[in-house]
Amino acid sequence: MLASSFENIIDKGDEILITAMEHHSNLVPWQQLCFKKDAKLKVVPITDEGDLDMEFLDSMLSEKVKLLAFAHISNVMGTINPVKEITAKAHKFGIPVVIDGAQAVAHAKVDVMDLDCEFYCFSAHKAYGPMGMGVLYGKQQWLNNLQPYQYGGEMISTVSFEKTTFNELPYKFEAGTPNVEGALAMAEAFRYIDNIGIGNIVEHEDALLKYATEKLTEIDGMRIIGRSKNKTSVISFLVGDIHPYDMGTLLDQMGVAVRTGNHCAQPLIDNFCIPGTVRASFAVYNSREEVDYFIGALRKSLAMLA
């Protein structure tokens, strides 16, 4: 939606900055916008540890950049980007910031006012909510200036055959019949998170991350992709030259749900020159015993594949 609405802001020769760790959702829309407007898409590189290369970012910021879009947390490596610092850097050049918070809202404290970002978005299903539902936060002045991206019912103020004036926020961006049940379910999901307390969730998941990382590191040939000092409870890994698909298939047989492949971040995977990874993610409902079970299952599958 934002990429469509930015069409009247981005011009030929302008630059849009993203990072090398973006999910396709925060890459393809900007890339397509750049194609359409003959603008340049530039990519901030990452270090071997999986952190954003902040010096490189500094060198890429300029008045030519009309937008900086990046993930709060990498869905592949779990890296938590220094969002506040990055936003402040961008603002020095008057660049608006779009943060993809899909991986963050259920695993970290997010305060958009404190971050001071222009936009922050996330999907409900990454926070125990329903699919097909999401949130876009935007500063009012920005949202007022953006064009609607879809036209239809409810989003208009007056209509004649000659012209249409659009409704005020947020209706201007909510054409058609709203997904009421999705919104209600999403609100409930966030109440669930609030009831447990994001602080407690972070503490619990950090402990699982630390424990699982320790246990994984004991395995011969283990390679963890993404070793940032500041990460959430996501561990992407490879063992020796075993294909992630093989490990994933066997883990699946033992009832361990991991994701394998490129995790919708193909450029990032290509960056590491690997066929993909196995990714174990720990959430609020996981336990230490489950980490033990996962490690046991992993060792069993490695024995079969050796």
């Binding site: 294909h243 698909y245 699946d252 047989q253 492949g261 079969m304």
Partner: protein, 144 residues
Amino acid sequence: MTIKEKEDALVSEFEMFDEWMDKYSYIIELGKEMPLIDEKHKDPQHLISGCQSRVWLNAEIKDGKIQFAADSDAVITKGIISLLLKVVGNEEPKDIAGANFGFLEKIGLKDHLSPTRANGLVSMVRQIKLYAKAFQLKNMNQRN
């Protein structure tokens, strides 16, 4: 043996396994027996799309029968394609084009593959059939 007979033989072979682990160990072993694709054919043209791991498949016709050769960078995928080739290898294009691969369900392989992986299996079957249909068409054109 006909395709159907080969399918039945595999189904009874798999019925001997009580444990899923044995089943998978067997699939991995099967991969080692497969006719390997020539290195020069490991190119984008022979790559099957829709698979999470890379799978290359080539087919050539010899005395009216199709000879398949394949490879994959994942050993389980390699075993699965080997299983398929065991059934359709050295068969006539029309028989392969008409095969329904019902044995995959009977040996419980389809349930054991998650949605994206099952898509990979579907892609492999589709590619095998595409080759068969292409050779069938070529035969018909030659006859005309």
